[in-house]
């Protein structure tokens, strides 16, 4: 999954400031094991968001939290107006979050709203399906819990076993491109990559396609992350947020932010967008419960 899933992005508006001074404040919260690249760019990210707010007459404050518990605590206590988390974390805390949240949104990495995962292997390896993953080594992006969930579900379905019990070793890589390169340079037998990542890597080096084959393709139902506002957040502030994100292509600072996070665009999430994911997650947890 995208590096953004290693982050907890919280944008919160300071209602007091807004009410009194007609300005708002945005903030970010992250895990301690946040992606290095993002960590390097954290100051820039804060600066960009603050500048972006100022250009819309909003004062934005950016804050970072080290753990999910701290994040939820702050959100639950009304200190945060909005958080962004992975769909896995959302699904696990779905009941709690739905009770205090509204106005869900997400971002795309391409023209399509959903993300698709590929399971790839060297052509010279005799691995053609999930049936052949026994004792294989796998590389995937660290913290991409959704792709891991997809692999596990297929392993459970095909082999009736959790992947960690079948695979010889799993390499968690911090960079999105590393899993595929691990296969290319024969460090790993298998790799899970997003369709976007595969396409961009093949574009960079067409010989990848000659050496590596796609064994399985996931359903196109996955979202990279999910963001939502606290029910206590004023509608005016939410409107400002969606107003800004709706014209991101015209805003230089937002473009820079999206380039850093590799987003294509923001969009409001309606129920239908997450229904399939919810069903998929429900099936997975059922299978896991069944075989564990």
């Amino acid at each position: 999954m995208k590096t953004v899933l290693t982050l907890i992005l919280i944008l919160f508006l300071n209602s007091n400031l807004l009410a009194n001074d007609n300005i708002s404040r945005f903030g970010f919260l992250s895990y301690s094991n946040i992606n290095l690249n993002f960590k390097d760019a954290r100051d820039s990210l804060s600066s960009w968001i603050e500048d972006l707010g100022l250009s819309n007459n909003i004062k934005v404050s950016v804050e970072f939290y080290n753990t999910l518990d701290e994040l939820f605590f702050a959100y639950k206590n009304g200190k945060l107006d909005m958080i962004v988390i992975s769909f896995s974390d959302f699904y696990k805390n779905k009941t709690f979050l739905n009770n205090i949240s509204k106005d869900y949104w997400s971002a795309t990495f391409n023209e399509e709203k959903y993300t698709q995962f590929y399971l790839v292997s060297l052509k010279e390896k005799n691995i053609n399906s999930f049936k052949d993953i026994q004792n294989a080594t796998l590389s995937l992006e660290k913290y991409d819990t959704v792709s891991k969930l997809w692999f596990d579900k297929n392993s459970l379905t095909t082999n009736n076993k959790d992947s960690e019990k079948i695979l010889k070793k799993i390499y968690f890589e911090t960079k999105e491109s590393t899993p595929l390169l691990n296969v290319f340079f024969k460090k790993s037998d298998l790799a899970i990559v997003t369709k976007d990542s595969w396409n961009s890597m093949v574009q960079l080096n067409p010989s990848i396609e000659k050496k590596i084959k796609i064994i399985e393709r996931s359903e196109k139902i996955f979202l990279p992350f999910i963001g939502f506002f606290s029910k206590d957040t004023q509608e005016e502030k939410i409107d400002i947020f969606f107003k800004i994100t709706s014209k991101i292509e015209d805003t230089i600072r937002v473009e820079e932010l999206l380039s850093l996070l590799k987003f294509k665009s923001f969009f409001r999430l309606e129920d239908k967008y997450i229904d399939d994911m919810e069903i998929y997650f429900k099936e997975y947890y059922n299978l896991k419960e069944k075989y564990d």
């Binding site: 960079k175 590393t178 390169l181 691990n182 960079l204």
Partner: protein, 540 residues
């Protein structure tokens, strides 16, 4: 301005200065462009080296353990964030090569030769056409050392867009600068050329006006340099010239008046000349007759002169004879007186008479001889003969000696014997006699108490010399040049004819090829007679 440019001198100076400035600026621009290019290349090299240092430093461990994945990802990201990089090749010694460019990477065994060539022990750079991006790039090759061991090379091909942009910008600046300097040069050249040539052109203009005759014009140049001084001098010269011209005009006018006057005078003269010519013609018509008359008149005068000369000579001769005779006549008188007293005393005897007669005869013979001597002396020689110069001089002295003694004038002579000359001895003696007579007359006239005349004869290899010196005080300077002229005399009327020295000079110089000269010495006059020796004459 264009009027000035048309002026030849201004044009030349302008073009010269403009070209000089333009050439200097061109050279400066050319040098500056080279330095600027080098500077930009050095900047690119420095940038490339910094990149290579950073890549090597950050991937040192991964390179050592040959973790190509991490290195590749790093290089890819590095390349993506550095738009300037066109291509990167990480070439491991004795290993494969990772080639990266925008939106492309690959691992290959071999790469293009231009990259292999630059894989040496030290870093290098050059501008080449990259076979990977097919355009010119700044290719920098960086050898990677770990613990002093060569690990491989990192080739970084930088885009030349910035370089070309800078170069383009530089050229643009140079163009602006060139245009600016061109205009500045034009203005500067114009000002300098104007400053240098304007005074000269002004002078030239003034000269042209002067050439047309306008002398009232002046050069209006007030500078203190050489041109200013020249203009000042020029103006002074013009003032002088104008003044001179005015003077000349006045002179011309005066001259015209003079010419008119002179013309009138000439006309008068002409008319007079015409009259004279008429008279001359009339004279010419009767000239022959007149000449004959004049010749006759001259002959008569000469006859008269000769007559006078003869009479004078005769007078001289008689005087000299009288002086010569004075002693024998006294002696004869004494003889006669002795005879008378002897007769009265009756002592007159035969013996006494014989003795007295002998004595008287002796005296009369002596007197007769004197006459003969004078007669011979004045008898002109008809033919040239060789004669002893000293004898001739002595003869002359003998003739005049008594006269000198009578006047208490001493004659000294120092003679050299055996001087033979050819000529007319009597005429020569007459010359000596003339000079001695003149000396005597001068001494008597000036009342010189111890009158003295010295005669010296001598000779050299060619000539005989007779020098006669007196102590009469010399000949006055104003007449010394005239004494040999005919009819010139300082003597009282009747005492001198004025032809003695004239005749003497004629005898010596015309008849005897000699020379008669006079000069004043300390106390008197020195007459020098110079006659060729007979040997010389014979040789001739």
């Amino acid at each position: 301005m264009f009027k000035l440019i048309n002026e030849k001198l201004f044009g030349k100076v302008f073009v010269l200065i403009f070209l000089a400035i333009f050439i200097v600026l061109s050279i400066f621009t050319y040098q500056a462009s080279i330095l600027q290019k080098e500077s930009i290349l050095n900047s690119l090299q420095s940038e490339s080296k910094t990149m290579a240092d950073a890549i090597t430093f950050l991937n040192k461990e991964e390179m050592i353990i040959n973790n190509q994945i991490v290195v590749l990802e790093f290089l890819n990201e590095f390349l993506n964030v550095n738009n300037q990089i066109e291509t990167m090749i990480l070439s491991r010694k004795n290993g494969n090569n990772i080639i990266l460019k925008k939106n492309y990477w690959d691992t290959v065994e071999n790469k293009f030769e231009i990259y292999d060539k630059s894989q040496i022990d030290v870093s290098s750079y050059e501008i080449v056409i990259s076979p990977y991006v097919e355009k010119e790039v700044f290719k920098y090759t960086y050898p990677i050392y770990f613990s002093g061991v060569l690990w491989g090379w990192l080739h970084i091909d930088l885009s030349l867009d910035e370089y070309e942009s800078k170069i383009s910008q530089m050229y643009q600046q140079f163009i602006y600068l060139t245009i600016l300097m061109l205009f500045s040069s034009l203005i500067l050249s114009y000002l300098i050329a104007k400053m240098v040539s304007k005074p000269i052109i002004s002078l030239n203009s003034v000269s042209s006006e002067i050439a047309k005759g306008n002398l009232s014009i002046r050069a209006n140049i007030t500078t203190k340099d050489e041109i200013g001084i020249l203009a000042k001098t020029f103006n002074n010269m013009l003032e002088n010239l104008e003044f001179s011209q005015k003077e000349l005009k006045n002179s011309h006018n005066k001259l015209e008046l003079r010419v008119q006057e002179r013309t009138k005078e000439l006309e008068n003269v002409n008319s007079q000349l015409e009259e004279k010519s008429k008279l001359l013609k009339e004279l010419n018509d009767g000239l022959e007759e007149k000449v004959k008359k004049e010749i006759l008149k001259q002959q008569k005068q000469e006859q008269l002169l000769i007559q006078q000369s003869k009479l004078a000579a005769m007078g001289e001769m008689i005087g000299n004879i009288a002086h010569q005779w004075r002693q024998p006549l006294n002696a004869l008188g004494l003889v006669l007186q002795n005879i008378y007293y002897s007769y009265k005393m009756d002592d007159l005897d035969d013996e006494f008479m014989d003795k007295s007669i002998k004595k008287a005869n002796l005296l009369t013979n002596s007197m007769s001889k004197t006459i003969d001597d004078f007669r011979n002396f004045f008898k002109p020689n008809k033919e040239e003969v060789i004669f002893e110069l000293t004898d001739s001089v002595k003869n002359s002295i003998t003739l005049i000696e008594s006269t000198f003694l009578h006047n208490n004038i001493a004659i000294k002579y120092v003679v050299e014997e055996d001087i033979k000359v050819k000529g007319f001895p009597n005429e020569f003696s007459q010359v000596i006699l003339n000079i001695l007579t003149n000396a005597k007359d001068a001494i008597i006239e000036k009342n010189i108490l111890n009158g003295e005349v010295t005669i010296n004869t001598s000779k050299d290899n060619s000539y005989a010399y007779v020098k006669i010196v007196d102590n009469a005080g010399g000949i006055p300077k104003n007449i010394i040049e005239k004494i040999f002229n005919p009819y010139f005399t300082t003597k009282e009327e009747g005492k001198g004819t004025g032809i003695g020295l004239y005749m003497s000079k004629t005898i010596i110089e015309t008849n005897m090829n000699g020379k008669l000269e006079v000069e004043n010495i300390q106390n008197g006059a020195l007459f020098t007679i110079k006659i060729p020796l007979k040997e010389i004459l014979n040789d001739k």
